[in-house]
Symmetry: C2
Subunit: 426 residues, 2 copies
């Protein structure tokens, strides 16, 4: 749950990692002042009553290590400083300052503070929100249970893939790939986030062609493959594309969260009758530096509340630079209720993706201890030497092995698709 | 203008600063591949024709320095590497890949690439866009000329302020401050970005009270003070608040750009009949680390095209950590056409703010060489010992001194407001 034991219905909390050349209590007070009633000098009208009612409060300070050089360059450091103190600080604001608005909350807890010269490092680690936000935002509509219901998959991860090449296929070529994937028994397919609405693959035509194939297989199997169409675009475009996906029988739309922003996501959520697949591309901007940014723990709460159903968390041994323990921590976070309100915890389904093959299945299950996830392999399915259907089977077999505690090599002895995948993805 | 000499109507370009443990051409090729047709293995369907039509192209590589340790931690660095090469690389994409969509453009040039393990540092430095984007986006409606027209201010900067305390005043108290500011001759006033729609200061009531005062002074002076109401919120809220501001006779609305995102800004631009004041709070996330992020040069092009009229650039000797030369470079960039199309360069008005007082006026004019700016002092006006009107007069006098090349102290000899300000803001 939320980090302050004394979570209140009247205040929002934020926790930061900071590094400062100033005394920590001074730096924390500057942050609290700048982000609430204060400015760099006390002004007329800034009464004690106003500060009591609207000032942010430094709730906790926990000192960490010190360093001898500042982690980020800063034009405003006082002369002669030789030690920079790191600390965790917790700050609270009256909810009345910004109301239950995610956009204004973001400007408060992740606004101008990153630039303050008091900080040679500052990361937003977590936020805790009063349940009043649930009166304004809807949270996920489908989440884990709804996604399982829409896809008919129980007691195991959804096996998924990303259409590759990422961009360049025609609608018909996309539908042909979907045909082979559905034939192979895939549960979930997504557009690459680079595939949008270019003239070679208009989303209207892609939607029609792909859903025709998916509906055909659903008639045959009784289970409908979930295809996350990338509807990222202007707001009216997204709503209209959503409607087209729904009209064609689709069950999911995808958006690039950093590209569309919170108000557009909330508008889509109010409109949607389909699951919303949240892609976090651009996330490296917030996560790559240890000294500036926003933690996944804080970041995902904004998007969950705004209504996303699935959130990307990267994958083990991925093609990016994120360590495995960070990936697992992110996935666990998606499953934690962010409000202590029964049925309104806003839990979402984590999506493992990025360079995933059969090899990551056992470790992913061992580390997460849950099957509530989408395991998406792009090249790890599409580049299987036996073709797309064999690629799907191999991933399924890898998860069967993981769930029964059987080593991959042993399980592959009688299963040629898994065996070929182990050979291809060494 | 845009950086490639051979800017094309068919391709978009991006320039990056990178640091890599890999050969630079390999790392650049990975970036180009990942952000276009490729994935980590070659897949079926990824034909030579498809790659030729849709692959991103590494256009230029310019080697810079090398360093002996990676600037950002990265789980995927090869063992034994002892040198990390820095370089500028330019990459181009076919416009057809993402079409003229800012949201999808962002996912392409600033998407998953920040996380690639090939990079221990990566910053997006600039983008160059074909003029076809102007068919879809409207750019600024007012810009410099329109803002001067709306405020009746020529041949000098707009003198502005930010209502302080940032948050906590009632609508009536806000209007009282506006009354004094208008009495003092202010040109421009803005809500603080923390002032939203809390119960103590609902924006509907704030709009009514403030505009009543501003209209009264406009009747008296024939010039209307521009007040940028912070309408940041959900999309329907923003449009409705815009309409209320317009109905009350207002001329400007303000949004926190990172809080609302590009599609919401474009939706507001399609709707607006008022100037849009763009606040960049949260900008430190992109700018503070030298090793990860987006330059202001690249960042502001997205928001200019989407329709903002004013953009914050910080101020000289500011309360943040940004050096002066970076502030001036940002302001200059706002005035550069981003398209070589007459009348459609999307130039916007830079807003100098953050700890500004009379003292920064001469240096700002000397460095920028232009009066096309809003000079906004919050505490620097509100905390003037002679009161708000004296604070406004002092800033005006400081700019008179700057424009006539007179030292502040000399100009202050006969002007007590400036003299008192120089004493108060040492």
């Amino acid at each position: 749950m939320s980090f302050p034991d004394r979570v209140s219905s009247e205040r929002i909390w934020a926790r930061y990692w900071i590094e400062t050349a100033w005394p920590v209590d001074v730096a924390a007070a500057v942050l609290a002042g700048e982000q609430s009633a204060g400015t760099f000098v006390r002004v007329a009208g800034e009464t004690d009553e106003l500060r009591a009612a609207h000032g942010a409060v430094v709730e906790n300070i926990a000192l960490l290590d010190t360093v001898g050089t500042p982690s980020l360059p800063c034009a405003g450091t006082p002369k002669g400083v030789t030690s920079w103190q790191r600390a965790h600080v917790e700050i609270s604001w009256p909810l009345a300052n910004m109301g239950t608005s995610l956009a204004n909350l973001l400007a408060t807890v992740a606004g101008n503070l990153f630039e303050l010269k008091q900080f040679s490092g500052l990361r937003l680690l977590d936020v805790a929100l009063p349940p009043a936000f649930l009166d304004r935002y809807q949270g996920p509509q489908f989440g884990v249970a709804g996604t399982r219901r829409l896809t008919g998959v129980d007691h195991r991860p959804l096996v998924g893939t990303i259409i590759k090449p990422s961009v360049g296929l025609t609608p018909q070529a996309t539908a042909d790939a979907v045909d082979k994937l559905a034939e192979g028994g895939i549960d979930f397919i997504k557009d690459d986030e680079l595939q949008a609405d270019g003239p070679h693959c208009p989303i209207a035509e892609r939607t029609r062609e792909v859903m025709q194939v998916i509906n055909k297989h659903a008639d045959r199997t009784g289970r409908k493959v979930m295809f996350a169409f990338n509807i990222t675009g202007e707001i009216d475009e997204m709503l209209q594309r959503h409607d087209a996906v729904e009209a064609a029988g689709g069950t999911c739309v995808m958006v690039s969260l950093h590209s569309i922003g919170l108000p557009a996501l909330a508008a889509l959520r109010r409109h949607t009758r389909l699951a919303i697949h949240g892609h976090r591309n651009g996330w490296g901007l917030y996560s790559r530096s240890p000294f500036i940014g926003i933690s996944y723990i804080a970041w995902q709460k904004f998007y969950r509340l705004a209504g996303v159903d699935h959130l990307h968390v990267n994958g083990l041994a991925n093609k990016f630079c994120e360590p495995d323990e960070s990936v697992i921590a992110s996935a666990r976070e998606c499953a934690k209720p962010m409000f202590d309100v029964p049925g309104r915890g806003c839990e979402v389904m984590p999506v493992f993706a990025s360079g995933q093959t059969v090899r990551q299945a056992p470790d992913t299950f061992a580390a997460l201890g849950s099957t509530d996830l989408i395991f998406a392999a792009g090249g790890g399915i599409m580049a299987h030497p036996g073709g797309i259907a064999a690629g799907v089977r191999a991933i399924q077999q890898a998860w069967e092995a993981a769930l029964t505690g059987t080593p991959l090599d042993a399980y592959a002895a009688q299963r040629h698709e898994l065996r070929e995948a182990l050979g291809a993805f060494a």
